[in-house]
Every structure is written in C-alpha cells, then in structure tokens.
Symmetry: C2
Subunit: 119 residues, 2 copies
Amino acid sequence: MSANVDLETAIAPILENLKESSDLIPAIAQDFASKEVLMLAWMNRDALKLTAKTGNATYWSRSRKEIWVKGSTSGHYQKIKELKYDCDSDAVLLLVEQLGAACHTGEYTCFHNSIEIGN
Amino acid sequence: MSANVDLETAIAPILENLKESSDLIPAIAQDFASKEVLMLAWMNRDALKLTAKTGNATYWSRSRKEIWVKGSTSGHYQKIKELKYDCDSDAVLLLVEQLGAACHTGEYTCFHNSIEIGN
C-alpha cells in the first residue's frame, strides 16, 4: 500500500501535465540492455498510472482511442526496468525488457527506416 | 543539387504527415556513441527540412512558436549522424553528436529524473 502511495507521489510531476483524460504526452521505449530506441507511443493519465503500477508498458492508442497494454495481443510485452521523465515533465522514457519484437511489422524496432545525413 | 533532391525524396514519407505548417511530430535526439536518449522536441515541416539540409538538429518551439536551431544561443548544437523514422512515419529519431549538454539545466540529458519500478 505505502509503495503505491510512493509511486503516485513519484509520478506526480508528470501527472501535472496529464490533468484531463484527453491530455497526452509522448513516451519513448528504449531497450534497457542494447539501448536501442524501440518505439514512440502516447500516454494519458490512466496509461501512465497503469504502467507504473503494473510494470507493463501501457499506452493510449490515438487511432483506436483506447488504453493499450503493449503485448496484450502479440505477447510482445515491454517490462519496465526504469521510468524516466524529462526536465519539463512532459515526456517519458521507459527503459524496458522487450519480449519479442517492438514493431507490428516484426522488426525489432519501429525505427527501422534510416536516412544518411552527409556532414 | 541532385543530393538535395534525393534528400527531399528520402524524407517524403515523413513530410506526408507534416502537410500543414501547424502539423507537428515528436523528434527524439539520441547520442550516437553512448546511445543515451538526450531529449524529445517537436518538428514541423520546415524544421525537418532544415535538419536534413543543414545537418544541425532544428526543432519547432511550441512555447515560443518559432523555428529553433538547437545550440544557436548555447552553442550546444546537435550534429546529425543519422536520421531515422518509424513504421508510421510520424516520429523521428536523430542520432547526434551532442556538443556540450542537451538540457537547459546543464545536465547532459533532459531525462535525468528516474523512478524505479519494482518488478
């Protein structure tokens, strides 16, 4: 119980930017071991609370307009190792253990398109 | 000239999601060497084109409502090594050489707040 209270206190700065259920912030998932950036998704207030409480990355689907536990249909869960947030408390970085692939295409990371910038 | 045409073609999938000048997508900056995630900022159409063309990370400031070359006042430029984008072409990942600190607080990364999630 007290652990939950502490967790709610810990995420309070982020919740300040998620007062309305329609408020969204970007959440970056990064492989905690390889440090590869896996995907970017969105969180509302409930998604953030569920992520912190359950330890499974949980997002808000902007297309389906519903809470989405990553892996609930594919089995490709993201187990949270550490939750970080930025200096403005309006972006979240999840260090995760990725089960299976992060991308719905089967690629390990959603960021599999690359452009060389010459400099 | 042809290099610029090729670059415009290369970023075309992302520009499809930035048709209006008010359209914004999140851009993640990651240290190309340490792989540390440094910050999340926003890009509109012009910011993406300038980033690709100049090789310096260029964002849209939502608070100041203006194009912002990262480092133009602090000297803390981000030199682009590689530009990646995700499966939906609506998020960008910049692999950068960070000059100085990424965060305005002086911290190397904006994601310097950490919460342990017990699992």
